[in-house]
C-alpha cells in the first residue's frame, strides 16, 4: 500500500496539532520515522474487520474458562 512520503513541514504541522511542537532540527528525522511507521501499520487497512470489537483489555480468565489442560 503506497502512500506519499511525509514531508518535514507536514511532520512539524502534525506534531504541533498533536500537542508536541518540534524544534526545526527534528522535523526531517521525525518525518522519516513517522513515514516508516505508517507504511508498516497501513497494511491493517486491508483487513475486513466485520463486527470485530476493540480489544482494549485482554482478559484470559474470561476468554478461556477451560484453559487448564
Amino acid at each position: 500500500m503506497s502512500c506519499p512520503k511525509l514531508t518535514a513541514p507536514e511532520a512539524a504541522r502534525w506534531a504541533a496539532r498533536a500537542g508536541l511542537p518540534l524544534p526545526p532540527d527534528r522535523h526531517g528525522a521525525v518525518a522519516a520515522v513517522a513515514h516508516h511507521i505508517h507504511t508498516v501499520v497501513a497494511v491493517l487497512r486491508e483487513l475486513d474487520f466485520g463486527d470485530a470489537p476493540l480489544a482494549p483489555a485482554y482478559r484470559a480468565d474470561q476468554e478461556m474458562p477451560d484453559a487448564a489442560v
Binding site: 500537542g19 520515522v33 513517522a34 491493517l44 483487513l47 480489544a55 480468565d61 478461556m64 487448564a68
Partner: protein
C-alpha cells in the same frame, strides 16, 4: 561448584536442608559480581550491604524454623523498571535522574515477602523501548549485544551474578535476552503477574516475568509472583497456583504444534536446526508433532506497532515536551514520531488484535502448545543494525528480534524460552514454547521434561571469568 553456580531450585534445596546458608550464597554471588561485573555491566546499582543484611536475617529466620519457602535467602536482580521503595527506578534514562520510588511494586513486595534477597537493579534499554540494552555486554561474548530490553537481568542470571531475575516483555524483552544469553525466560499470560509499580512501555502489551537458569526455577518464581492485584486493571483473578512441574518427563499425548509458516521463515540455519532437534526431543518424550499454520502473519508487525507506538508516546507525553533532550536519540525519535499516528490506526490495531486472538484460539483447539525459535538469529555484534537474509532481504536487527516474540504479546498467550544449544560461534540458541491463555503449567511441564532429559545439558553458566 560454587554457590553462585547453583540453580534456584538446587540452592533452595541446599538452604532448606541446612547445607548452605543464605549468607554463604549471597557472599558468593557478590564475589562473582566483583569478578565479572566490571566487564559485563549487568547492574545499574548493586545493593551489597542491603543484600548481606537481608541474608543474615534470612539465615537467622531459617535457623529459628521460620523458613518462608523456596525463595527464602535467594539472591535476585530486578530490572530497573521495577519499583523498590526508596531506590531510584532509572529506567535506563537520564529523564529519571533523581527518581526515588515511594513504595515497592507488587512484584518486589511479593518477592521480598517470599524472602528473596535483592542484589541490585539491572540495566534496561531506555524505558524498555529497544532490543539491545547497549549498557550491557552479552554474557557469552562481550563483543555481542546482550539483547533487550531486559538485557541486564538475562546477563546477570547467565553470569552467576543473580540466581534469578525479573524482566518485562512488551515485544520479546524477556525472551529475546534470555535466548541470546542462554537462560530461561517466561512471559506469562497477560494479566497473570501484576504490573503495579512497574514503568510501562505499552499498557496493553506489557508483561512481567522471571529469567532463570532452569524451567523449574521459573516455575518457583512464577508461583511467588502470580495472583490478583486490583491496582493493575489488567490483573486476572486466577487462583494462586503452585507451578512447580512434576518429575515425570513423559509427554505422551501432548500435541506440539510445529509452525509450517512464519516461525521458520528468515531464520538462521543453525538456529532452525537446533530448534528442530529440540522439537524432535519432545517427540522422543512422547509428544505428538502436529503441523500448524500461523494465522494473520502479514499483520503481526503492523498490529504490534499500531498498539505499542502510540501507547508509548502517550506515556511519555509530558517529559517529551519538557525534557526531550534527555532521551537517547533512538528512543526520542520513536516517541516523537508516535505522536503523528492517527487514532484510526490504533483502533484498527486493537480490532486486528481481536481477530488475531480468535484465530490463535482456533489453532490451540488442535494443539496443546507450539514450539518455535525464540529469535531468528543469535546475538549480533554490538553496532550491527541490519541482517541480510539469503534471499537478499534486509531486516533491522530490532525487527528481527521482535518478529517471533510479538504474537504472544499481541494475543496475551504465555511463552517460555529455553536454551536448546549453541551455534558454531558458541552463542546460545533459544526455543520458545507458546501455550493457551493460563496454560503456563503445560509449558513448564514440557520445558522441564526437555531439560531433565536433554542428553548433553548445556552449561547453564557462561564461561565468563
Amino acid at each position: 561448584m560454587q554457590p553462585y553456580e547453583l540453580s534456584l531450585t538446587r540452592a533452595a534445596d541446599a538452604i532448606r536442608n541446612r547445607q548452605l546458608s543464605p549468607v554463604e550464597l549471597v557472599d558468593s554471588v557478590l564475589q562473582r559480581v566483583e569478578q565479572v561485573e566490571p566487564r559485563l555491566h549487568a547492574y545499574v546499582t548493586v545493593t551489597a550491604e542491603h543484600a548481606r543484611r537481608a541474608a543474615r536475617e534470612a539465615e537467622k529466620d531459617i535457623a529459628a524454623g521460620r523458613h518462608r519457602g523456596p525463595l527464602h535467602g535467594i539472591p535476585m536482580g530486578l530490572k530497573d523498571l521495577i519499583d523498590v521503595a526508596d531506590m531510584a527506578t532509572s529506567a535506563g534514562s537520564r529523564v529519571r535522574a533523581g527518581h526515588r520510588a515511594q513504595a515497592d511494586s507488587t512484584v518486589a513486595a511479593r518477592l521480598t515477602a517470599a524472602g528473596a534477597v535483592l542484589i541490585g537493579k539491572t540495566h534496561t534499554h531506555e524505558f524498555a523501548y529497544g532490543l539491545i540494552t547497549p549498557q550491557t555486554r552479552n554474557a557469552w561474548d562481550a563483543d555481542r549485544v546482550a539483547g533487550g530490553s531486559s538485557g541486564g537481568s538475562a546477563v546477570a542470571v547467565a553470569a552467576g551474578t543473580a540466581t534469578f531475575a525479573l524482566g518485562t516483555d512488551t515485544g520479546g524483552s524477556i525472551r529475546v535476552p534470555a535466548a541470546l544469553n542462554g537462560v530461561v525466560g517466561l512471559k506469562p499470560t497477560y494479566g497473570l503477574v501484576p504490573r503495579h509499580g512497574v514503568t510501562s512501555l505499552s499498557w496493553s502489551l506489557d508483561h512481567v516475568g522471571p529469567l532463570t537458569r532452569t524451567v523449574e526455577d521459573a516455575a518457583l518464581v512464577l508461583s511467588a509472583l502470580a495472583g490478583h492485584d486490583p491496582r493493575d486493571p489488567a490483573s486476572l483473578t486466577a487462583p494462586a497456583t503452585d507451578y512447580r512441574p512434576g518429575a515425570d518427563a513423559d509427554l505422551t499425548g501432548l500435541r506440539v504444534g510445529v509452525p509450517r509458516s512464519y516461525y521458520f521463515d528468515h531464520v538462521e540455519p543453525e538456529v532452525e536446526a537446533a530448534v528442530r532437534r529440540a522439537v524432535d526431543r519432545l517427540a522422543g518424550l512422547g509428544a505428538r508433532l502436529v503441523d500448524v499454520e500461523i494465522p494473520m502473519t502479514r499483520y503481526i508487525q503492523a498490529t504490534q506497532w499500531g498498539l505499542m507506538v502510540p501507547e508509548a508516546t502517550t506515556y511519555h507525553e509530558g517529559t517529551l515536551r519538557t525534557v526531550p533532550d534527555l532521551y537517547q536519540a533512538d528512543v526520542r525519535v520513536l516517541l516523537e514520531a508516535g505522536a503523528l499516528m492517527p487514532a484510526g490506526d490504533y483502533l484498527r490495531a486493537q480490532r486486528s488484535r481481536t481477530l488475531m486472538r480468535q484465530e490463535w484460539a482456533r489453532v490451540f483447539q488442535e494443539v496443546d502448545l507450539i514450539a518455535a525459535p525464540t529469535v531468528p538469529v543469535t546475538a549480533v555484534r554490538a553496532g550491527q543494525e541490519t541482517i541480510t537474509w539469503a534471499d537478499g532481504t534486509v531486516e533491522a536487527v530490532s525487527d528481527a528480534y521482535v518478529r517471533l516474540s510479538a504474537p504472544a504479546n499481541i494475543t496475551g498467550i504465555p511463552s517460555l524460552s529455553i536454551p536448546v544449544g549453541h551455534d558454531t560461534a558458541g552463542l546460545p540458541i533459544g526455543m520458545q514454547l507458546l501455550g493457551r491463555p493460563l496454560g503456563e503449567d503445560v509449558l513448564l511441564r514440557a520445558g522441564h521434561a526437555y531439560q531433565q532429559t536433554h542428553p548433553a545439558p548445556a552449561r547453564t553458566l557462561t564461561p565468563t571469568a
